[in-house]
């Protein structure tokens, strides 16, 4: 999702002749497929194509070599037209070993191209992949085009002059493969060469070997095409995928973890504050901690705590002391933070909590994506504990969501949860870099002087927010805590009427956030009609593409994508009621569906998927079809 352009002109998105290609790189976790994919993404982005990626890797760091569960894959969909998903079916599968072939080939489009490293298809690896006969020889791949190359041997030949050991030399296999892929799609090698030189600055021999492998793969494409020899029947041909139409501006690629980190830095600057970030490592949230810990010059203090509870508790302590406390985790860690979120709600301190969702419950699917923490975000605390919740739809959107989370937190003196997921965190897409001068500041003002009539730490402004007072301020000493407190003074008070009133104030304050958020828009299609497809978070891509197809076919379908999960936009109820049917595709068993039914008494129907894989467009197509008839 490179640009606003696509969303502005939803019904005529693509120029004549626009096309896209889906390539999946698959290999052993030790084969460097994520790196290969990442670099291919960079060169594709630099060529101006739009793209979306889907890194899919195992939970094990180094699963035993050659095994089915050790396969790591990276899929990229790129094209000269708007791209919103990583693609349903690959057109090209690059399989570095039998296990990679076995676990990925069924996804390949019929007639698609398999490029397999036949050097890895020996008996041992075939056994590990549970192949009785060699699929490259036994005709079982007949419905696809097959290209057998001994990539291992070709790599060894290419890097021979650099005197590396066999094992080390074979590490360059992925660069050979990347070279071939770059040739296939006429991509520039130079950015990769620069990157390799930089990455292996201290090991020039390794850099040279990798560059040689890259060049050899590229050269192989050229000569193979000229010679046109069989190689298993498949054809190696070059195909140029042009630039996608996009709005003028400067672009880069960005993953969700990067854009959230950048958005938090931006938000904290717009608030005129400094950031305190407390985290405890967990997949897929750790990347945010890693990014922020390198940005100290932006007034960022990062703290790797002893556990998730300490991470949020320290963030709360920092907010009390006058920085913006931020914490981030994934489902299991968010569960641990629950009690402390209640403390932030009670003490009415600003705080941002990021949940990079993954499959659950418990350890669940650590490296796979899911949207199953919506209940946890909206409802998952003891007591009546209201908290604003925002969900990012894509890596680019996550930047603005992070800023919005900071704004709500400081303007309403409340913790805010930002939901993202494993897919958004890891996936890369082109991003039109915002001009920071266009971002609207929302400077915080601390209470510094004794107000007339004395200090009342729980007095409130028009937004029902209480004053933020930094310890260290003369005269304004006061005590806060998680225990129920009196209106205005904040002194301990658990009289029945007080709790009734304070509960209502806390509720109303958070509901009041709806006054400051945008009305719900229709992402694609008309307001009112036969069918609304309502989504949230990372399902944006497949829903948008499916609805676009349906609209192009003349069907009465609209796409609504909700960013503010709590409180919901004020106009949402009326908007939803303007459609005959509502379906809610989610990667869970129906959580937003329940929320919408509860809030608006509408007959929202669930469309659910919990396989750890994003929706395909075809799946949404089918759901639309079913609910239109």
């Amino acid at each position: 999702m490179a640009t606003a352009l696509k969303q502005d002109e939803p019904n005529s998105p693509n120029p004549e002749g626009a096309e896209n290609v889906v390539v999946r790189f698959a290999g052993d976790s030790g084969d460097g497929m994520q790196l290969t994919g990442g670099q291919f993404t960079l060169s594709t982005a630099l060529a101006g194509s739009d793209l979306a990626t889907f890194p899919d890797f195992p939970a094990e760091i180094r699963a035993p070599q050659g095994t089915l569960f050790g396969v790591s894959a990276f899929q990229i969909n790129f094209g000269s037209r708007a791209i919103e998903t990583a693609g349903d079916e690959p057109d090209v599968l690059i399989a570095m070993n039998p296990a990679a072939l076995k676990t990925n080939v069924d996804a390949l489009r019929e007639g698609g191209l398999i490029i397999a490293d036949e050097g890895e298809f020996g008996k041992r690896n075939l056994d590990k992949a549970k192949y009785e006969t060699n699929p490259l020889e036994d005709g079982s791949l007949a419905k696809w085009q097959l290209l057998k190359l001994n990539i291992s041997q070709l790599t060894l030949d290419a890097v021979k002059p650099f005197g590396l050991g066999n094992k080390e030399a074979l590490r360059s296999k992925n660069m050979w493969t990347l070279g071939l892929a770059l040739w296939m799609f006429e991509r520039d090698r130079q950015p990769i060469v620069d990157w390799l030189k930089n990455k292996f600055a201290k090991l020039p021999a390794v850099a040279d070997a990798n560059i040689a492998a890259l060049n050899a793969g590229h050269a192989y494409g050229e000569t193979a095409e000229i010679s046109g020899d069989g190689l298993g029947g498949g054809h190696l041909t070059q195909r140029k995928v042009g630039a996608a139409p996009s709005a003028p501006g400067t672009y880069r690629t960005v993953t969700g973890a990067e854009s959230i980190s950048l958005g938090l830095v931006a938000g904290v600057q717009l608030a005129g504050l400094e950031m305190f970030f407390g985290g405890y490592p967990i997949t897929p949230a750790s990347a945010i901690l890693h990014h922020l810990s390198r940005l100290k010059e932006f007034g960022v203090t990062t703290f790797q705590a002893e556990d998730e509870i300490a991470a949020i508790a320290a963030a709360i302590g920092a907010s009390y002391a006058g920085k913006l406390g931020i914490t981030s985790s994934s489902g299991p860690g968010i569960a641990l933070k629950g009690e402390a979120m209640g403390l932030a709600i009670m003490t009415e301190l600003p705080l941002v909590i990021i949940n990079s969702q993954r499959g659950g419950p418990s350890t669940g699917l650590p490296t796979k994506t899911e949207q199953s923490d919506l209940y946890q975000a909206v409802y998952g605390r003891n007591g009546d504990a209201p908290m604003p919740v925002i969900a990012a739809r894509s890596p680019s959107d996550a930047f603005f969501c992070a800023i919005e989370a900071v704004r709500i937190a400081v303007q309403y003196m409340t913790p805010v949860m930002l939901l993202t997921d494993g897919y958004i965190a890891n996936a890369a897409e082109p991003w039109q870099i915002p001009d920071v001068s266009t971002l609207e500041p929302f400077p915080v003002s601390f209470l510094k002087d004794m107000p007339e009539g004395g200090l009342k730490p729980y007095s409130r402004d028009a937004k029902l927010a209480r004053p933020w007072i930094k310890p260290g301020t003369p005269e304004l000493m006061h005590r806060i805590g998680g225990i129920e407190k009196a209106i205005d003074t904040g002194h301990i008070d658990y009289a029945p009427a007080t709790h009734q009133q304070m509960t209502e104030i806390r509720r109303d304050k958070v509901l009041g956030v709806a006054e400051s958020i945008a009305d719900q828009d229709v992402a694609l299609g008309e307001k009112g009609g036969k069918l609304a497809v309502v989504g949230w978070g990372s399902t944006f891509g497949p829903i948008h593409q499916a609805v676009r197809r349906a609209v192009a076919d003349g069907k009465d379908v609209a796409h609504i994508h909700i960013r503010n999960i709590w409180p919901l936009p004020k106009n949402l109820g009326d908007l939803l009621k303007s459609y005959d049917n509502i379906i809610v595709p989610e990667m869970n068993t129906g959580q937003l569906k329940t929320l919408l039914r509860d809030q608006f008494l509408v007959d929202a129907k669930p469309v659910n998927k919990t396989s750890g894989q994003p929706f395909t467009i075809a799946e949404i197509d089918a759901a639309i079809e079913e609910n239109l008839s």
Partner: protein, 342 residues
């Protein structure tokens, strides 16, 4: 500001809040000792922050006219870490109980001590869960009969000071709620730059009345307490007895001192920087030995927040915090009205 200049009086440290501990609770005496000590520290209420967890003891911050944060059970050390990192100028005191600090919050206590955050930690040890009405705690002695252990507790207690020493604390002291010397312990803790851990024996008169009576009682204190002073011989029983080191067993022993000649008896001189002796003093079994009270160990080293501040400054050196160039970092490309510039 000159340390130790009196800029406040006791009154300046009292809030208008009604104190709600049970009459006769040891917490009252500790509160008074703290309020008496503060004016002598030359510090200002607005720079002072009391942070507590949950428990009877953790109500403490409400009674101090300073900044205060009554947090959640066991997490005060973590909240304090964030507050101190956000503003290292704050003078941070952590108030906690034996359950708060050593059961639910044991992990945070350990890490705060290991990191050496500059703060004072006052652990009110009453060997019981007061607020939840008297269940046994991780410091209760074996056989403690409570509603949850009607047949007596069977698990061995933790020693707060041994825990602190093991976790890497650089200041460890013991005090008694009603002891007039508590003020000196608090002053020493405050003077120590880094995490200062103080175990205070606190009498819960409702659920664990007089458990410390054997050594805390004033009448018998002379023979049951070893009052430590840095550079002073370890004497008790009005100088008639002392502590020596048996060089064969490498263990402490009680020796008689004749005519005040403690040197002849081999009584050792307390050196607060000696970690091995601190360990032995903490572990001395009461009965055979007196209870060591006062500063057991005090050997400062650089603090956590100072290291963080230093590293942040160093990593920022010569870098401009320009948001636009941060966003534009890495490989970028430009699209003009005519399409991408390739």
């Amino acid at each position: 500001m000159n340390e130790m200049t009196k800029i406040t009086t006791l009154k300046d440290w009292e809030t208008d809040q009604e104190v709600r501990w049970c009459p006769g609770c040891g917490d009252y005496a500790i509160l008074k000792a703290v309020q008496r000590t503060m004016p002598e520290l030359g510090v200002r209420p607005e720079d002072t922050l009391f942070i507590s967890g949950i428990g009877c003891s953790s109500r403490f911050p409400y009674y101090m006219e300073t900044y205060g944060f009554h947090t959640i059970h066991g997490r005060a050390p973590a909240v304090a870490t964030g507050a101190k990192l956000a503003n290292p100028d704050l003078d941070v005191w952590i108030i906690t109980g034996d359950g708060d600090a050593l059961s639910i919050g044991g992990n945070h206590t350990m890490h705060l001590l290991r990191r050496n955050l500059d703060c004072q930690i006052m652990l009110f040890n009453n060997e019981i869960y007061g607020l939840t009405k008297g269940q046994y705690s991780p410091t209760s002695r074996v056989g403690t009969t409570t509603p949850s252990t009607p047949y007596g507790s069977v698990d061995r207690p933790a020693s707060p000071c041994a825990f602190a020493l093991g976790a890497g604390a650089r200041f460890i002291a013991r005090g008694i709620d009603i002891h007039k010397d508590l003020t000196n312990v608090l002053k020493a803790a405050h003077a120590h730059k880094g995490a200062a851990f103080i175990e205070i024996f606190q009498n819960c008169i409702v659920y664990n009345k007089d458990v410390f009576e054997e050594f805390a009682a004033k009448k018998t204190a002379a023979s049951t307490q070893l009052l430590l002073g840095n550079g002073e011989p370890m004497l008790f029983e009005k100088g008639a007895k002392g502590i020596t080191l048996n060089r064969d067993t490498l263990e402490l022993e009680v020796v008689d001192v004749v005519d005040g000649d403690w040197q002849a008896a081999g009584v050792i001189v307390h050196d607060v920087t000696n970690k091995s002796v601190a360990h032995m003093l903490i572990d001395m079994p009461f009965g055979e030995f007196p209870m060591a009270i006062g500063v057991l160990y005090d050997d400062p080293r650089p603090t956590f927040e100072a290291a963080v501040v230093e590293q942040n400054a160093k990593a920022s050196e010569g870098k401009k915090p320009d948001l636009q160039s941060l966003l534009n970092k890495g490989q970028t490309w430009t699209v003009t009205e005519d399409g991408p510039e390739l």
